[in-house]
């Protein structure tokens, strides 16, 4: 079960072009390799994106994405056995431009051995006020099927709906900003069918035992995000962003980031620092007082109160400029490499591998390195 929450990775790809609604996105192809390595988990694979205009009003986009997982995470080694898994996702989308209005439809399908997900989405963007303002309204509907690899008869449904509204605004000749509000509702089976919670059990040698987690069947979240990018007096840009998040599980989060972008010859360098903090879900506990202590119970560390810190470095090199070339139909090309160093401090998730007395276990900390390298071709 690689995918538990939203199976909507490719929606962002479909939303490309949100900033400039009255112009179709550029024809381009991206070939990306990604690698996540941290906390006993290694996930890598490709992502291939191709976008092409058809006539003057239509642009189509396709994406193929793979996660190949090898997991011996803290969850897995304390309650289960290491595993390998593969998730394949593909998506198809279309943009239709009419005047200052762009309409988009997109379909995403994700498959793995114990989780299938399908999502359809629709959005419309309108340029206004001399193309200084772009308003985007979006809706997506997801239909997931959750299974268990050790029980062929186990099947549960999960339905998702996403409502979004976004406003992109040119404020000055050096400053652009965007404001996004998104409501997501889930209804159905939200558990991870393999994960367990821990409860006090004086009859066991360790002083605790495990039992399956049990989540509410619904979740509604609201997120409000603001970003602003400013062109500095020399050729470089700085961006600030903030997001406020709250949901019906009592998770409240704040996320902030600062980015600096600096071109140098055929290179463009980017540095970014991101900080996220959140409260824990109301049914989360690191150690329940007894078996079935509460109606709902979970010990997913991502639902714990936590703080995460990410430092990113990215470099892009322009292989081919758009100034007459001999690469046939390819007009421009670049290669980009990046590394994200992620650190997470959990306020209420113990590291049980330390084998300390119950209640004295150290808190778990996660360090992960995230690598990306991709080639982009414009044609």
């Amino acid at each position: 079960m690689i995918l538990r929450r939203l199976s909507l990775t490719a929606l962002l790809l479909a939303m490309t072009g949100t900033v400039v609604a009255g112009v179709l996105p550029e024809d381009r192809a991206d070939v990306l390799y990604h690698l996540y390595d941290g906390g006993g988990v290694e996930i890598d694979g490709p992502s291939i994106l191709v976008r092409k205009k058809i006539g003057k009003s239509v642009s189509v986009v396709g994406n193929y994405y793979v996660d190949m997982v090898s997991s011996a995470s803290i969850d897995v080694i304390t309650t289960a056995s290491p595993y390998t898994e593969e998730r394949k996702q593909w998506s198809l989308g279309m943009d239709y431009l009419r005047g200052n209005t762009t309409m988009r439809v997109n379909y995403v399908s994700s498959e793995e051995s114990d989780y299938d997900a399908e999502t359809v989405s629709f959005s419309v963007s309108q340029d206004m006020f001399g193309d200084l303002t772009t308003l985007t309204l979006g809706y997506a509907l997801g239909d997931d099927l959750v299974r268990r690899s050790d029980d062929p008869s186990f099947e549960r449904n999960l339905d998702k709906q996403i409502y979004s509204i976004g406003l992109t605004q040119v404020l000055t000749k050096n400053l652009i900003s965007t404001l996004n509000f998104e409501t997501i509702t889930d209804e159905g089976y939200l558990n991870n069918p393999y994960r367990s919670v821990r409860y006090t059990d004086l009859g066991s040698a360790l002083g605790y035992s495990f039992e399956p987690e049990l989540y509410p069947n619904t979740r509604t979240s609201n997120a409000l995000g603001l970003r602003a990018r400013y062109y500095l007096p020399y050729r470089a840009a700085i961006e600030g962003e903030y997001r406020y998040f709250i949901d019906t599980w009592d998770i409240e989060g704040h996320t902030a980031a600062l980015t600096y972008i600096h071109p140098w010859g055929d290179f463009t360098f980017t540095g970014k620092f991101r900080y996220h903090t959140q409260t824990g879900a109301h049914f989360y506990s690191d150690l329940f007082s007894r078996s079935e202590a509460t109606n709902f119970r979970g010990r997913d560390k991502e639902l714990s109160a936590l703080q995460s810190y990410t430092f990113k470095l990215k470099a892009a090199y322009e292989l081919l400029n758009d100034d007459g070339n001999d690469w046939g139909f390819i007009k421009k090309a670049k290669v980009t490499a990046s590394v994200d160093l992620l650190h997470v401090d959990y306020d209420n998730f113990s590291d049980l591998t330390a084998l300390a007395p119950i209640g004295d276990e150290p808190l778990y900390k996660l360090d992960a390195d995230i690598f990306q390298i991709f080639f982009t071709f414009w044609y």
Binding site: L12, T16, K173, I251, Q372
Partner: protein, 69 residues
């Protein structure tokens, strides 16, 4: 629906004079000012964050959700 009515209402307003003229937008058109320059990369990293944190959405588009243990 309300948002759609607002959108239609705004469109029906009289023309608003753009305070940043088209010939003043050269810096905004620079690739370093593109808010979503590389969607294939941005969507991947959002996918990672949604897997590692409890929050989701509000970042310009729906993100992904790998719940990798």
């Amino acid at each position: 629906m309300l948002a759609l009515l607002v959108l239609m209402g705004l469109s029906a307003c009289g023309p608003i004079e753009p305070w940043v003229k088209p010939y003043e937008r050269d810096k905004l058109a620079d690739p370093i000012m593109a808010l979503e320059g590389d969607a294939v990369s941005t969507s991947y990293i959002q996918h990672v964050y949604e897997a590692r944190e409890g929050a989701r959405g509000g970042e310009g588009a729906a993100g992904g959700g790998c719940g990798c243990n």
